[in-house]
């Protein structure tokens, strides 16, 4: 068993604008089961942060409990990290974000962590519009506790030992859309060409971004009868669009038919260039997206891609009118303005 990934690397590895190679964004070697989809998501996060040229110390990784929530150890070892309690990533991350809005927040969670025990926290974070990227590594089971159905498990889906799930699933994408998330995507760990741009777009989005990433659990949910297995997802995957994240103003080089490409400019200067794969899909129309998803879900399709994006998101700081400076950069006299200031505030509320 190897505990260390050799430091030797490919001599031709490209460097990003900071002069780092992809390998500079790695973490320690994964202890998850070999073949776990979560590891591919970690690799996609590494690729995305590297491609965006983000300094690792500007990222804060926050997670809950589960195999998925363990993964922040396996990427960005030079970033900040907080492995919180089961289902409590959203509140810890919200607090961190309120205290210091200058970091780039990456919440990593599981379907159990977010849709079962943490569903309340999930819902409120979405409503509030915390500026973050929320990745749910969705395998339909509690991987870490040996494969019980989670709240995203489809009705009728079969467990490894044969039990059938009788409960309705929670669709985190539908919930996020309903609760006002401003960037919503779904993807599959086995399709990095789709997943990497989705993560890049989410990290550059200045509002709450959810990516529901189906991520097969090879140990407990990759069998015949599962709707979260490699084979099932590959067969039912319907991608509505193809995303490219354009950093700096790169001209369109390929020829597209009129209406085939939509461009969404984000506040940080990046451009989301979307090529339509489904003709009648409009990712900027929230209600249409919800309808489309409901219809196609009933047809048994797993709809993936960038499902919704609001080019002008508002985040929690904007609605609360908080101070822009991180709290750790403010002095005591500002942070604790004293009894007179409190008296004044109370008076204003009377």
């Amino acid at each position: 068993m190897s505990y260390l990934k050799p430091a030797l690397k490919h001599p031709g590895l490209p460097k990003n604008k900071l002069g780092f190679t992809r390998r500079d964004y790695e973490g320690s070697i994964s202890t998850l089961c070999a073949g776990c989809g979560h590891d591919s998501i970690s690799a996609s996060i590494i690729q995305s942060v590297w491609e965006l040229g983000i300094e690792p110390h500007r990222v804060a990784k926050v997670s809950g409990i589960g195999c998925s929530s363990k993964t922040p150890d396996y990427f960005l070892s030079a970033s900040h990290g907080f492995n919180s309690v089961h289902g409590r990533m959203p509140s810890v991350l919200t607090g961190a974000n309120l205290a210091n809005r200058e970091l780039i927040y990456l919440g990593v969670s599981g379907d159990g962590d977010s849709a079962s025990i943490g569903i309340g926290q999930f819902a409120h974070l979405m409503r509030r519009g915390v500026n973050m990227t929320y990745i749910v590594e969705n395998n339909g089971v509690y991987g870490l506790t040996k494969g019980q159905f989670s709240a995203t498990s489809d009705k009728g889906s079969k467990a490894k030992k044969g039990a059938i799930n009788t409960d309705e699933p929670i669709d985190l994408v539908a919930m996020a859309l309903q609760l006002g998330a401003t960037y919503v995507g779904r993807s599959f760990s086995g399709d990095k060409t789709q997943l990497v741009p989705l993560i890049m777009g989410a990290l550059s989005h200045q509002g709450v971004a959810l990516i529901d990433c189906i991520s097969p659990c090879v140990a407990f949910n990759n069998h015949e009868g599962s709707t979260k297995s490699y084979d099932y997802v590959r067969e039912h995957n319907e991608s509505v669009n193809k995303l490219d994240v354009i950093l700096g103003r790169a001209p369109i080089t390929a020829e597209y038919a009129p209406g085939e490409v939509t461009e969404v400019a984000q506040h940080d200067g990046s451009v989301l260039r979307l090529r339509k794969l489904h003709e009648d899909y409009d990712p900027t129309d929230r209600v249409a997206a919800m309808n489309y998803l409901a219809r196609h879900k009933a047809m048994g399709e797993i709809v993936t891609g960038l499902l919704f994006v609001d080019p002008d998101p508002e985040d929690l700081h904007a609605s609360l009118g908080t101070v822009a400076t991180p709290l750790n950069q403010l002095n005591d006299d500002v942070l604790v303005p004293g009894a007179a200031a409190l008296e004044k505030l109370n008076a204003a509320l009377r």
Partner: protein, 599 residues
């Protein structure tokens, strides 16, 4: 691209860069692992089987394996393959009992080998165990050929030569006829040998031809003759100021020998630039380390002398110019001539073949360069029972090539004597064995050391310059050898892929430290090489392509910088990757005679 054909042993053989580059195809990683395990005798035997002179080669080999070594592509320097060989030789136990036995019962065939250099000795070693009555002739008093007469003792102690030559000549089956020069091939053939092997080397040094050379001849010496005379202890001193002409390894041996025989101001003068010199980089380094300057771009113009005594040499300064085709020409630089005073000149400007003792009317044909016409594989000449090898075959090369020729010639001679078709070559011995011991356990040490190459300890120059016999390199001790051995990447432990087991989870892709694995739509090779996770720009290295995946993509593995760490196989949930040890032993007459010891 077409899926890779794994049925041919050459695919995996090429992945073992060192073994592929070694003319004798020594199973390098196999012996390096044995050294790590402290099994020096076994490591020695793996070498002895394939290169016959591990102790000698571990000190002197030209080491074509090292520039080829994969390690050199992922960090600064290759594994010290050659010097690890010496460790096996230095630390082994008595091996006599493990050498291929020589039968008392002879097979009735008699062969004559001309010259007792490495090529002939290899033929002898390979034929004697089959019951051949082998006769070795050499004009000199001892066996070893140039290894004994040319290579200076401070690089190669005589005891090492005697030991390894003795393993061949002292165990029966081989009769040596030293101090016996063969003056006529016709005469030798008339003695009724079933086959004759010519391993007489390339014994003639090229002479210096500039004005004054004749007059000062007493102090102008041909490098290889002078080195032989030093080896035989006929020459024990030289003037204080010495010029060595030439840029090859012979020049390096001349200048370093001169330093030890009284030369105080010894300089090497070469026509070409320093970079283009033929000498190996480490030979140049060693010479400069001993205070010998190498002066380049100087063409000999004149030898200066007074009253028949050499006083110096005049050189014209040149520079390199390149034409459109990149060919180099040396043209006068216009700078003033350079005069260097000296007491002796050693001429090491080239070596030639000469076969004055081979009659031209016996049907043995020569080409226009004076070399025998040979079948390149069988080494058979135009006289069916006469075979060539070593420097005599295709001009001066080195010891390991001489050994490789010796093995091939022995196969040919055996086939010829048994009335078989010489051109039908036997297959190599090939084995593949999975290294899997448990879920994540391998029977090889898959940890990758990140240590840089360890320097071989050298004797203090003030000590080693005092005697021509004091060995300069001291060799690795066991501890250093272990650490250096750990740098080997085990390139013979191959990544073998089974597409039918793969679920395309990307586990292997994500873990691979060198980004060697990609799943992608199939394309032509050139397009594929740029479409991989990391560009596969080294076209000398194969792409391993496998189809039969559910998504219709192909698995492409760039062999170039794979660390053979086995992580892909560790992270594969289905065992689609396996780490399998590839073992290849080239076809030899003695294959199978020796129990496979270490596998």
């Amino acid at each position: 691209m077409k899926p890779t054909d794994l049925s041919s042993p050459s695919y995996f053989h090429k992945v073992v860069d060192c073994q592929w580059a070694c003319p004798a195809h020594t199973p390098v990683p196999e012996y390096i692992r044995l050294i790590s395990a402290g099994r020096y005798t076994d490591a020695y035997m793996v070498n002895w089987e394939s290169n016959v002179f591990p102790g000698i080669l571990g000190r002197t080999c030209d080491r074509p394996c090292e520039p080829a070594c994969r390690r050199g592509r992922v960090e600064d320097e290759p594994v010290a393959i050659c010097r690890l060989k010496r460790v096996a030789a230095d630390n082994k136990d008595d091996v006599l009992a493990r050498l291929t036995p020589i039968p008392a019962q002879k097979n009735g065939k008699r062969v004559a080998l001309i010259g007792a250099g490495p090529s002939s000795l290899t033929v002898a070693r390979d034929l004697a165990p089959l019951g051949y009555d082998v006769h070795v002739f050499d004009a000199e008093a001892k066996g070893g050929g140039f290894m004994w007469s040319q290579i200076p003792r401070f690089r190669l102690p005589e005891s090492v030569i005697d030991e390894e030559v003795g393993y061949i000549t002292n165990r029966g089956g081989v009769t040596t006829h030293y101090n016996t020069r063969i003056d006529s091939l016709k005469g030798l053939l008339a003695e009724g040998y079933d086959a004759v092997f010519v391993g007489c080397g390339a014994p003639r040094g090229r002479e210096l031809d500039v004005p004054g050379a004749q007059e000062a001849a007493a102090n102008i010496h041909l490098g290889i003759d002078w080195l032989a005379s030093v080896s035989f202890e006929h020459t024990t001193s030289i003037g204080k100021r010495v010029i060595v002409l030439g840029g090859g390894n012979t020049a390096m041996d001349c200048c370093r020998s001169a330093r030890r025989l009284g030369g105080e101001q010894v300089s090497v003068v070469v026509r070409s630039g320093f970079e283009e010199m033929k000498a190996s980089p480490w030979e140049k380094e060693d010479a400069m380390h001993e205070g010998i300057p190498i002066l380049n771009f100087l063409v000999p113009k004149q030898v200066l002398h007074t009253a028949g005594r050499l006083t110096g040499m005049v050189f014209e300064k040149v520079k390199a110019e390149y034409d459109d085709k990149g060919r180099r020409k040396l043209v006068p630089s216009g700078e003033p001539d350079v005069t260097i005073e000296c007491d002796d000149v050693l001429v090491a400007i080239g070596q030639e073949n000469a076969f004055p003792w081979i009659e031209r009317d016996i049907g043995l044909e020569f080409d226009r360069w004076g070399l025998p016409k040979l079948n390149e594989t069988t080494l058979q000449s135009t006289v069916p029972n006469v075979f060539f090898g070593g420097d005599a075959a295709f001009g001066p090369k080195n010891i390991i090539w001489a050994v490789a020729h010796g093995h091939e010639a022995a196969v040919s001679i055996d086939k010829f004597c048994q009335g078989q078709d010489v051109t039908e070559r036997p297959d190599p011995l090939v084995k593949m064995a999975s290294q899997k011991m448990g879920i994540h356990e391998w029977s090889y040490d898959n940890d990758v050391s990140i240590d840089l190459r360890f320097k071989v300890p050298h004797a203090d120059p003030s000590e080693s310059l005092r005697s021509i016999k004091a060995e300069v390199e001291l060799g690795y001790d066991r501890e250093l050898a272990f650490k250096e051995a750990q740098r080997c990447l085990n390139c013979d432990v191959q990544t073998v892929f089974a597409a039918n087991l793969c679920i395309e989870c990307d586990g292997c892709v994500d873990i691979c430290p060198t980004d060697s694995i990609t799943f992608t739509p199939n394309e032509e090779e050139d397009a594929l090489r740029t479409a991989l996770k990391a560009p596969a720009i080294n076209k000398h290295q194969a792409l391993y392509v496998a189809d039969g995946l559910k998504t219709g993509r192909v698995m492409v593995k760039d062999e170039d910088v794979c660390l053979h760490c086995g992580l892909c196989a560790e992270r594969c949930p289905t065992g689609a990757w396996d780490m399998q040890k590839f073992f290849l032993e080239t076809a030899k007459t003695t294959n199978g005679a020796q129990a496979c010891l270490s596998r």
